[in-house]
Symmetry: C2
Subunit: 133 residues, 2 copies
C-alpha cells in the first residue's frame, strides 16, 4: 500500500468518526487493536474500541470532529508506523492538537488495519504514568 493510500484510509476513518458511523469504523482496526483513551487508560479489541468512541462522541454532544494532516509513514513489509497531526474538538469546545502515533499491520486479507492507536504520541512520556502491558 502506498503512503497516499494509507493516509487516505486514516482520513476515511476520520470521516466515519465525524459522521458517527462506528459500525463501519470497526474494520479500520485489527481484531485485537489497542486504543489509548488517555495516558494510563487503554482499551483492547474492536468491540471495546467502538464502545469507547460512542462514549467519546456522547461526551462531545455528538459533535466530535477529528481532522488529521502532515502524515509521515514509515513502512516496511507488513508493518507501518504512521505519525500525524491530529486536531479534535466540538463546535463549542476548544480544539485539542496532538501528535498521534499509529501502528498498522497488513493482515491475511491484504488489508492494512490499525493495531495500535495512540493519539498522544510520545506525549505519554511526559504524562509520567505507566501504561499497563
Amino acid at each position: 500500500m502506498s503512503t497516499a493510500a494509507l493516509c487516505a484510509r486514516i482520513q476515511r476513518a476520520d470521516a466515519l468518526i465525524n459522521s458517527r458511523d462506528f459500525a463501519a469504523l470497526a474494520d479500520f482496526y485489527t481484531e485485537d487493536a489497542l486504543l489509548v483513551l488517555k495516558p494510563g487508560l487503554q482499551v483492547n479489541g474492536r468491540t471495546a474500541i467502538i464502545g469507547a468512541f460512542e462514549r467519546i462522541a456522547a461526551h462531545f454532544g455528538d459533535d466530535l470532529q477529528v481532522r488529521q494532516s502532515s502524515f509521515q509513514v514509515l513502512a516496511t513489509g507488513d508493518t507501518a508506523l504512521v505519525l500525524a497531526r491530529l486536531a479534535l474538538g466540538a463546535e463549542d469546545q476548544p480544539v485539542a492538537q496532538r501528535q498521534a502515533t499509529y501502528v498498522f499491520r497488513r493482515e491475511a486479507d491484504d488489508q492494512w488495519r490499525c493495531a495500535v492507536d495512540n493519539a498522544y504520541g510520545t506525549g505519554l512520556l511526559d504524562a509520567q504514568m505507566e501504561v499497563a502491558p
Copy 2:
C-alpha cells in the same frame, strides 16, 4: 513477552551499541527493518542498518553512548509500539535528548524484533519533511 522483558531487550541493544558489537546487534532487528537516521533519511534492512551504526559510531570517534529510560509499551498480539526517552552522545559532545518510537514484531521463532526504529518520534512532524514510503 512482558513489558519488562521487551525493555530489557532494548537495553541489551543499547549495551551492544555502546560496546560496538554491531554484528550481535543485527538480531535486534527484523530482516527488513527500517531505521530513521535523520528526518528525511532512512535505511532499510539489517545490513544497511549495521553499516549505518558503524558510520555513526565513527562520527562520534567510537565513543558513542546511548541510554534509554521511561519506557512505555503498547503491545497487542504480535505487535508493540514502544516509546522511550533516549540520550545519546560522546564524551566530548553534548548529549542529545530524544523521545523515541519503536515498532516491534514477534516473528515466527517467537523472538520480538524491531521493525521500525525512529529515534525522532513525532519530532519528524516538526521537521516538516516528507519521508519516502
